[in-house]
Symmetry: C2
Subunit: 203 residues, 2 copies
Amino acid sequence: MGGREPGLRERTRRAVQQEIVETANGLFVARGYENTTIEDIAAAVGMSRRSVFRYFPTKEDIVVGKFDFVAQDMLVALRARPAAEPVWESLRRTFDLLVAYVDAPGQHEVAEPMQRIVFAHRGLLASYLEKLQRMQDAVVSALRERAEASGRPYGADDPVPGAVAGAAFGCLLAAQHAWLAGGAKDSFAGTLDRAMAAVAPRG
Amino acid sequence: MGGREPGLRERTRRAVQQEIVETANGLFVARGYENTTIEDIAAAVGMSRRSVFRYFPTKEDIVVGKFDFVAQDMLVALRARPAAEPVWESLRRTFDLLVAYVDAPGQHEVAEPMQRIVFAHRGLLASYLEKLQRMQDAVVSALRERAEASGRPYGADDPVPGAVAGAAFGCLLAAQHAWLAGGAKDSFAGTLDRAMAAVAPRG
DNA sequence: CCTAACTTGACACCGGGTGACACATCCAGC
DNA sequence: GCTGGATGTGTCACCCGGTGTCAAGTTAGG
């Protein structure tokens, strides 16, 4: 991340955010997303409705906001991959961060129902897809940098890097979908491997 | 589509819907999406706020609702492709319906700014992505049918057909992105061709 | 002409989200 | 130790998207 040593202010803020997320997730899985109002969350945490909005811009962000961080980390991870590595492999390794998030043994019991909630609700799914899209845009930038560093830069409006990244994220989403549909029994990593083995960039 | 002879009721309904869309699009382009309230639209069309919601479930649907129809048509188109054709080619041809929508010479002047509006607004982009996702789900079903008919069905939780479809839609989105970023000068079809040439299913 | 189905407008209401203001707290610097 | 400014919070008022309800109006069919 950017600033070294987050500082006390930022740390307490993160702590409150974390508490809101955990409390809210509990309510969401118990009563459902739409049946839980911001006021319910505020009351459960012990603050006012207004203050909840000071920590999260929207209700949806309480659920999918964390992916902004994952996106940043993924970018760093992608930039750290060796330049000689095939792009598809680099992307697969970049996704390991998301995989770790999903396959994490400790949080598995809470992460999976939340995923189902995301995929079940219109606005939430839309919001998640939009986050992935932003993530993807960043990946495209990284891909361009990499191509430039290796001496074969893409043209400004070349759709190719976007297509490669788009295909990879498409596989990611498909894997998530299939994994959830299959009851989340297998490892997510394995499902993603199979998905990404079915497609490959040309050249 | 389904019922033969739409009937008077349904036809007038479609006409009103069309008028709402056109009036609203005019306001959106002129004053921006967020600066245009449902009441503004209702007033411009000459009906009450409530009635607008009788024709469109949400404000976003006024913009992206038409893609539900495109999705249905795309499904039909995909099913009509010869079974022997390579999958990637079938998908590219299926996208021709969307291409026709974008490259259409008549509506080009209104379609392009609307596309920019969609890509510029959080909720709108999210909504559009969600529509594409639903479209994609349908495509996956068609891919499964095709594989079954050719004697090599996929397993129930196999992520492969989803990955192929996801990759194709990823290319589609990337092409749209690059096309808009490049000022929509080239033909969209050509951009999409280049995007889909950069990736291919394995096997 | 009368009635039943459908459409519409008007009104009330909910919930997400924002702006403004007042109050408390905490941490300077004097 | 006091004071003053930054920061956090609650309260209130408001906007807008979206829904339920009901009464009035329209249209088609007997």
